[in-house]
Symmetry: D2
Subunit: 434 residues, 4 copies
């Protein structure tokens, strides 16, 4: 986790305080269930909830752990200090550490998912607003970085909206993947604890009991979760690279917002760097790097080995914190992106009308000109544009062989932008509804 | 694609013949839609279907491509040779190559998904049968590769079943991700073709029109698809490594099937290598390696660059063919796995009763013995087992300090396997239904 | 391996014919060494070389393998058919299959390295030629895609040369990594064969005996090899992306060569797509995807498991064939790259002189103007350029407050390109020698 | 960076304090060089060194950065506070931030390399000591996890030694890759600063001037560096998995050291988990995950984009800190590994002599028995061992058909372990010298 690429809400999910609070809730709910089953006295279960108001002393727990060499035991010892040793004596009965640790990890991931969904929603809202704003802002569509045919800035935003909406669905699925809990004992047989305890704890904490746990919750779930984060990050990169392209000096169709007072902006007005989207490109790589180790974590030995643990200590916080930050950074960039429609037109017309050459070629053929002749006619006029900077339409209108086949009105029509934009509404209806 | 790791059905999906057949269907359906819209004559649209019976001559198409340097044009030329140049003259009108290429790729991935689902179903059936067969076959559960508490072989199979069932759901989702088509032109604006054509073609071919295509279908879909294959592969590795562990000489709780006639098996009966599951471990790595490049493919420049294409030419066939093969190899391994219940018992009892030491420790405490004393009692008897190979239960029964706290019947009860297996039915009901 | 992204020389290294030929050589050299040790009769060793002239019949070997289920035995059987059963009866004595297979893989990788080095050399030659050609071709340097300060096209080529020269050194190291052989038996103890055999075979085949083999040659060597290929591929991507940027419509500082007759080029002169460098971007991803599985292959179980084998069957040919093709495609692109110096100047002057604003700012400060005032002076003239398209130098010359601090000559001097190019020779000397 | 997986020395390299100290040194050496060139006054250059004794106040620098929004300017402001505004006024002249930042990163990586080399040396020393100690400790060699032929524990250690020695060489190479510095200005042309400054600074700080820098040092160097760390991590995983296998209950040929007082060890003597090597398996995944993003960082746009920066902020510290910790953890594990030679023998003899069946088969053939008969003879005796637990040698000695071909002494000889160990010295000489 890099502090400068983090938001406090997401960081808080991964704090020791939050972790201990979740541990406490799992233990307390488990006590309730054990009491309901008659396994432990009701009074003891109730007593544990005294700690609900307490703040767990991380330093104190660390101190105890330094002696016991066991984090869960250290926590339970500290809990007993708060609740009272006698009252606390049934806490954790029949459970193993992994019951607490794995269920906690999943609760943290569920909460992280909720923040990420909020981040995605902010991105979606921004994209929708900008899409509607620029529905008819014409710009040149490019394949291979080369001018192709006209499109609109709104379609670009709408496309990113559709992509991020898919990511939202994926993230909802990924959240469901890891929204499970397990209180099933050393090898998952419930030897020392009734499955009813697991059911109660999970229900209270918004989880579903894991179908078959061993000592741990199966890691294919987490692999799928982090893979999904990797896809979302790749979509962020997709948007980021579009903006970086738009901002490059020769294109300048849009710029990341640059506050008026920002130093250097006006003495070097050409030197406004798309540093936020470049940063997003890098952050995407960081999120993505969690994917492979999460997959390597799936094949644990027998009922569990602990190789996954160190990996998750890193990628759990790192991938969610980085993605959360990236989503909000992206939303901010989109919300405030400065769009230059006039530059879009200027770029489109860089080779004065040449982007319409294919339409003209087609029109000539349809007007009965042979393929070879049509090609020759387009070519000789196109080359005047390309080499001498003439205007393509004017050249065509002045070429008697062309006007023999196409009337001036027909030629004009080939340069009508409306031709390219007639289905924009259809596409918008697909994305945002009618 | 490595021939020895491939099945003909999946290979066929990626053959040039299949590809050209799909190209043909897209073009023919598009002609139908164009005719219905009145854009082209109905007779021409109908004429195209003459080629439905034809087999496309791959060598001929390659020959034409060598001249035209364009695969789609080469195909269309050959199609015209079959259908008749005049009849075929409206084929592909208003479309761009990517309309055909991208829609075809997705059809291939959809078909690949269907085969993969069939493979998963075979794996699931095998796992279920073996789970029911070995529901009560006791074996030691292991954490960290070290004996922990008893479980059953059936639970292991049931656990893998639950994991593969999750993979089935994931694959159904992944299939939906890439079940889209696009006939939307050079930059996705439908400038030269009505969206109705896309709708018709997609409907006929079992696809959904892409919400917003540019020149291409957005690659976040494919990233999600290949990421899902990577997760499934990781689950295969998970099962494979369990079997490899079970087969190792010192464990020998199961073996891959070894045909009686297989050379070397009886002259060196100890030397039966788990080569199929080792191979599956490697194949999992191969499938997984598609994940990162598929994610790197998402961020294309503007309306498209073609960097994704070479990647997909490789990972499209390779990842699906390899995973398909791996699923069937895995199913075969599970179906025929030779399980040795007697060795499971022998292993569990390697340290004669010692795996029950924790239960005894707990029982002593619950019987009122102090934690320290209970620990000391268990320890001194455990060490006799560990160092002198004695039987733990017998030592306990012979220790007056122990029998002072626990009756012989109580001690016996701690060694009852039923204690560990009482919830197996509950877990099976979760997995397979009541 | 994708046929269209392959060169015959590299493909040939991975053919069954080549493989069997190498197997033969290993076996024949081993016989020589065994004969020299007196382990087998000299006549038999000599007889084996009869097969040196033979072409091994791959179909026949496959036929035998279908029966024996063992590739090396199938080969040896076929070899005996050529050499004579009696003469061949000492072939392979004391060896295990892995001795042959692992040594062969390394020979293939060594040969592949030699081809890759030749590819790198072609790339280096092309880069050097273009660097010298364009040493003084001025273009704008860009950070963040935004104009910064002038540089030259030659420096760009020289930079890529230096990077590829580093890659050459890395590849020489990587070649040494895998230039080892092993003839050491089932677990690497030389139980059934004298180390002298390994020494002789390795010496004959240009290899070094592996320090400690088990049944296999350790896979950290191969991990390092494929990691190195991944770095080289990333450098190819680096060059490719530079060219793609230069070719985009708005920049147009260079273009991939487009043959005059190439269709569409002159009717749509703006539509020349950098498809080769886009393709190289994708190929880089393909080569890179071998890196992680090669690293996952390192941790084999005990003296060997066979999980690495399927991985290597894929990445061995795929990564080397793809990289080989990519190097030659890149060399071709560089050799024929069409460079547009005039466009470079036009781009640099897009904001007429504004790229020099920082130098002017500095000059004003050094001339005694306060930081604040200098900033204000530059700003007000820069904004006229930015907003009204004026010429920066002219504005400065017309601004009395500026000319009060800097003489016209001093102002002129700030726009002198020579200032930026004065150390180009120094840098070239570093790269290419004085 | 996970605190529990870190060592203070490596963490310190990445602290703000260290970073600022390096920044200072670069600036101060640059001033010296500038003064030597006569660009700035000697007195000012000397004055800067006043700060050599100072500790930079990180909080103060952060405070300034909050205003200036620029880290290097914040630092320079603070430096001026220490040195005196007037004395400091020539600091950083002609330089750009990246000159400082990139050179600093490389200095940190060089120092990190030195610590990693020390870590490797400790691992090497431990492996050598244990190899010599267990040179003749016989254990069964295993292929596919299945018993093959005898080898020694010393050979296993020697093999790991040879692998780690290769890693040392690789790391020395990787260190050289990133031991470069650059003081070359905004686009690497030395427009505002003489190359002599770069040379002086690099010489003082143990670096080589970068051949061609742009605004940044080329990232293929860092890709190679992190790829090398990934290979080393994979080797750590290799050793870790061997130990995990040795410690599993059924094998128990070695155990990670377990301090006598460690709780649970004696009450559950079977339950000593190889948690350190499991942890190392996970840490290897963490180090490895830096490899792909480091390669993705190579293709920066033109003279630089800043996408690499966020990636390096994470993987720079994370990969080096984790690998450093892992090396020392591994060294500790090896140094104190508890080896159980008697269990090695017990395991080897699990199927009483059966591992020698292949030698017997060979001996029979060499004694003139036909292949078929030899196979039948071995088979019928082997099956008695396999199924009834008999002793293989005794069965052979009691089989008249066998003794008709081989004398008792010859049979005995086939079970001689010396046969397998005769070349151990040769191999040790290869690894450790004669």
């Amino acid at each position: 986790m890099i502090p400068r690429y983090s938001r406090p809400d997401m960081v808080a999910i991964w704090s020791p305080e939050t972790k201990f609070r979740i541990w406490f809730e799992i233990e307390a709910h488990a006590c309730d269930a054990q009491a309901a089953l008659g396994v432990i006295p009701k009074a003891n279960a109730e007593a544990v909830w005294k700690a609900a108001e307490a703040t767990f002393d991380v330093a104190r727990i660390d101190e105890i752990e330094a002696v016991t060499k066991h984090d869960v035991i250290a926590f339970l010892t500290h809990l007993a200090e708060i609740v009272g040793a006698d009252e606390a004596r049934f806490v954790h009965q029949g459970m193993t550490s992994s019951d607490v640790l794995d269920t906690t990890l999943n609760i943290q991931l569920v909460r992280a998912s909720d923040l990420l969904l909020a981040g995605l929603d902010r991105v979606l809202a921004a994209l929708k607003a900008r899409a509607l704003e620029h529905k008819d802002t014409v710009r040149i569509g490019r394949s291979h970085g080369i001018h192709a045919e006209p499109t609109t800035m709104g379609l670009t935003f709408a496309r990113f909206y559709a992509e991020m909406a898919r990511n939202r669905t994926r993230l909802v699925n990924a959240r469901a993947e890891i929204a499970t809990g397990a209180i099933s004992g050393a090898v998952g047989t419930f030897a020392n604890i009734d499955p009813a305890v697991e059911e109660h704890v999970c229900a209270q904490l918004g989880l579903v009991p894991e179908t078959v746990s061993t000592q741990v919750i199966p890691r294919d779930r987490h692999a799928m979760f982090f893979a999904t984060l990797g896809v979302i990050a790749s979509s962020i990169e997709n948007v980021a690279i579009e903006i970086r392209h738009m901002q490059r000096t020769e294109v300048l169709e849009a710029e990341e917002f640059f506050s008026p007072g920002q130093k250097g902006s006006s003495a070097m007005p050409h030197k406004r760097n798309p540093v936020l989207t470049e940063n997003l490109t890098g952050l995407a790589r960081l999120v993505r790097m969690a994917v492979v180790p999460a997959m390597e974590n799936v094949a644990l030995w027998h009922e569990r080995d602990i190789s996954h643990s160190s990996v998750e200590r890193a990628i759990g916080p790192d991938a969610t914190i980085t993605l959360d930050f990236a989503l909000h950074r992206l939303a901010g960039v989109i919300e405030k992106l400065v769009v230059y429609p006039e530059n879009m037109l200027k770029n489109m017309n860089k080779f004065r009308g040449l982007v319409m050459s294919q339409r003209v070629l087609l029109a000539l053929t349809q007007a009965g000109v042979s393929r070879e002749d049509a090609y020759r006619l387009v070519q000789r006029n196109a080359m005047k544009v390309w080499e001498q900077g003439r205007d393509f339409k004017e050249e065509l209108l002045a070429d008697p062989e062309v006007t023999a086949a196409l009337s001036p009105a027909e030629i004009e029509e080939k340069f009508d932008l409306g031709y390219h934009l007639k289905h924009v509404d259809t596409i918008f209806a697909r994305v945002f509804g009618a």
